[in-house]
């Protein structure tokens, strides 16, 4: 199953994310978001908009490459895939 790492930045909203990374049954980025939301209800709302497109401050990387299909999240996952869910950070 693909292994999913979620940025610590979202842990403050979903403290149980600290138990990750998570092995999730998913064959595409879209299915991975659904699987994450099933485990952490409400998390999908941070990642995608009402139409299912990746929110503009969020990035997904599959096997160290940015997903290309941000609108429908059709990028495929393999059993050995590693996914990183990231969001914009700033300085200070």
């Amino acid at each position: 199953m693909p292994r999913v790492h979620v940025t610590r930045n979202l842990w403050r909203f979903f403290p149980a994310l600290a138990e990750g990374p998570f092995d999730l049954q998913a064959a595409s980025a879209k299915e991975m978001v659904a699987a994450l939301d099933a485990r952490f209800p409400g998390l999908a709302g941070y990642l995608v908009d009402d139409a299912g497109a990746l929110r503009q401050h969020v990035n997904l990387f599959i096997d160290d490459e940015a997903v290309l299909d941000r609108k429908t999240l059709g990028d495929t996952l393999s059993a050995g895939s590693t996914v990183h869910v990231m969001q914009a950070l700033s300085g200070g």
Binding site: R8, G91, G92
Partner: protein, 249 residues
């Protein structure tokens, strides 16, 4: 690119150890001396970027940072001092940098980057280092860097996580390719250690030195991410957004 300036004997003595670096040498040092670098905010990240670039012999630093020093700055803003609490951040930074390198030219701008000053500030620089906490500042800087075709080193952090990339307009994804919009729940103040901002600041300075000095492999089209809680580092490949509102042609 910057115009090289010949070194004095004093400068050859000061920079002797880095002049030994292969592919850099005196020609690279002359390019640093002729360089003008804009650093947007000299806080936790920018203080360290500025200090390293001053030490390395960059000729001119343009420092943009508004406001006065607060106690909560002192865990990470290494150009600010306890004795200077309540005084101008950018003036404290200028004073500390001049102690290290009296040959350095500094343009101290007591205001933060914004839509109204970004064009003018970016126009003064050969390269920009983005260390700002607000996304409006970062987006303004990115837009102007792309429009004026200036390299932009993008440093960011949160808690013990950090990331860095180097934007070369026309060749690499820009900030808006990756993040056209700011996180709705982002706060200007967030958890961070000075050792985290210092780590990223050193990396940002090294990116600037490589781009200006014309050697090595900058993080062009690559995002280096790190989690210093676990000392995990990853190199991620970035992609240009063909519909990017800033850099798509």
């Amino acid at each position: 690119m910057p115009k090289a300036k010949p070194l004095t004997d004093e400068e050859r003595a000061v920079y002797e150890w880095q002049l030994w670096s292969p592919e850099f040498g005196e020609a690279g040092q002359e390019r640093l001396k002729g360089s003008r670098v804009l650093i947007s905010r000299v806080g936790g990240l920018g203080s360290v970027v500025a200090y390293e670039l001053a030490a390395a012999g960059v000729g001119t630093l343009i420092l943009a940072h508004g406001g006065n020093i607060k106690p909560s700055d002192l865990n990470r803003q290494l150009l600010m001092t306890h004795a200077a609490l309540g005084t101008s951040r950018v003036q404290s930074a200028e004073r500390r940098l001049k102690e290290l390198n009296p040959r350095l030219d500094i343009v101290a701008v007591p205001e933060n980057m914004s839509d109204s000053n970004a064009a003018e500030l970016v126009a003064q620089a050969d390269l920009i280092v983005d260390c700002a906490p607000l996304f409006q500042e970062r987006f303004a800087m990115n837009r102007e860097a792309v429009r004026q075709s200036k390299p932009l080193v993008e440093c960011a952090m949160y808690d013990c996580e950090a990331s860095i990339t180097t934007i070369l307009p026309g060749r690499t994804p820009c900030l808006a390719c990756r993040h056209p919009d700011a996180p709705p729940h982002w706060r200007r103040e967030f958890p961070v250690f000075g050792a985290v901002s210092g780590t990223v600041g050193c990396l940002g300075a090294m990116e600037a030195i490589k781009v200006l000095g014309g050697f090595g492999e900058p993080l062009a089209g690559r995002l280096l991410t790190m989690d210093l809680r676990t000392m995990s580092f990853r190199m991620l490949k970035l992609a240009r957004n063909p519909a990017c509102p800033v850099c798509a042609t």
